[in-house]
Subunit: 245 residues, 2 copies
């Protein structure tokens, strides 16, 4: 695995910051710059230290526990966040795709370090904005501030929802919540799992055979029928009841 030179070192070597000439069409797709007019974006980019950096597949964008002193926004490609535990194992936590920012929740705060190691899944292009520039930027434009707060809140909401989800004890409860959520989205009683069962078991934090067994039991109990990735809800009322014992 190729270790990339830490970003913070890289841009300290530059005498002056870059002024990036970029497509408005590209930048306007970035959630942080949503609803901003072209001249506002140009002003922000001309006044602040914002640089474009490319990473190759498998290069590191950030190390676990490294000081989070810059906002990294993916322009193209995708990265994965992984935790290293003391026994040396790498545990994948999440994937992030362009055009999203990464670790936006951890840029500020008292212990502002990357919670995971970030590795490029493929060749990626990023915008890197030093923390101080982010702060100036947010003070310059209220729309931008609003976008930043909205994006942060959305991440926090997802974190909180996952925590709530984890609080369901049994595999059956987790499955019931998961299936019902999917059926809400598709509006049908027949849903198709959006992950492989192995991935779902990992997401639930349970073993794959246990997940399969519970699906089989739920079928025997007349709650659902299941085949491969397709699940049909047979008794919605009872399925809801399963969530609360």
């Amino acid at each position: 695995m190729v270790i990339n030179v830490p970003v913070s070192v890289k841009y300290r070597q530059l005498a002056h910051w870059h002024i990036i000439i970029m497509d408005y069409t590209v930048l306007s797709k970035i959630p942080l710059f949503n609803s901003l007019k072209e001249n506002e974006i140009i002003r922000i980019f001309s006044e602040l230290k914002i640089i474009e950096t490319k990473f190759r597949k498998d290069e590191l964008l950030a190390l676990q526990d490294e000081l989070c002193n810059r906002l990294i926004i993916l322009l193209s490609g995708s990265v994965k966040g992984e935790m290293i535990d003391p026994s040396g194992r790498l545990v994948k936590v999440e994937d992030i795709y362009a055009p999203n920012p990464l670790a936006i929740l951890f840029l500020f705060g008292r212990n502002n370090r990357f919670p995971v190691q970030v590795t490029a899944c493929e060749d990626v292009t990023t915008l890197i904005i030093p923390k101080q520039s982010v702060l100036r930027m947010l003070g310059m434009n209220e729309t931008l501030l609003r976008n930043y707060l909205d994006i942060s809140a959305d991440f926090a909401t997802r974190l909180s929802q996952k925590l709530h989800f984890m609080s369901f004890r049994t595999i059956r409860q987790k499955l019931a919540v998961y299936i019902l959520d999917l059926s809400k989205i598709s509006q049908y009683n027949v849903i198709e799992l959006d992950k492989t069962k192995s991935a779902l078991a990992e997401y639930f934090g349970v073993s794959r055979p246990s997940l399969e067994r519970e699906l089989t039991k739920m079928q025997q109990d007349g709650l659902i029928t299941t085949n491969k990735k397709k699940i049909e809800i047979k008794n919605k009322k009872e399925l809801i009841r399963q969530i609360y014992q």
Copy 2:
């Protein structure tokens, strides 16, 4: 239980907003106003719609799933956050004490609703700032913005840590992490639990007898000795190893 008139209704009835004359000593203790000079605080309070509201014990400050359109900061007293599940049970999620803000992570975002119902544990005094005023306030003063972002990040960090904590499967792993964390803080090998064992079991999402049993087993295995709320680490190296199988 007394149901309080929703706050949003309350202050819509006021013809003009209040200018609160308050002690600088009180306000400077609020994390959000940390490091702000007196004249800056006075300016903010004179220009924005910020009102002081009192709630009695057991009154509701916010309902679960209610639109989160205001920042509530506790000046005195404490509140509890509880979730209601469809079977009607109330599940306590957390306590918040003055001088902290509540639901700061959920004020913005697409689905900005209170994730829990908030009830006063005792008589409380609060500052209520409408969302729009919060936004203006953050644009007015960079220190304030920085405070807001820091506070949000600290909450997000705690959420993320709890999620990481929940990802440990067995009770023994959770206990090992918990005990080692406490020993890091106190710097000693003898720690005192900061919760009752019932509360700890609830925090872990396990039953109390199971928690007790695991503590007993860990003592039998020579990892710790335990009595009431005191736990002494006997074999730190082995205790660390327990975290990873």
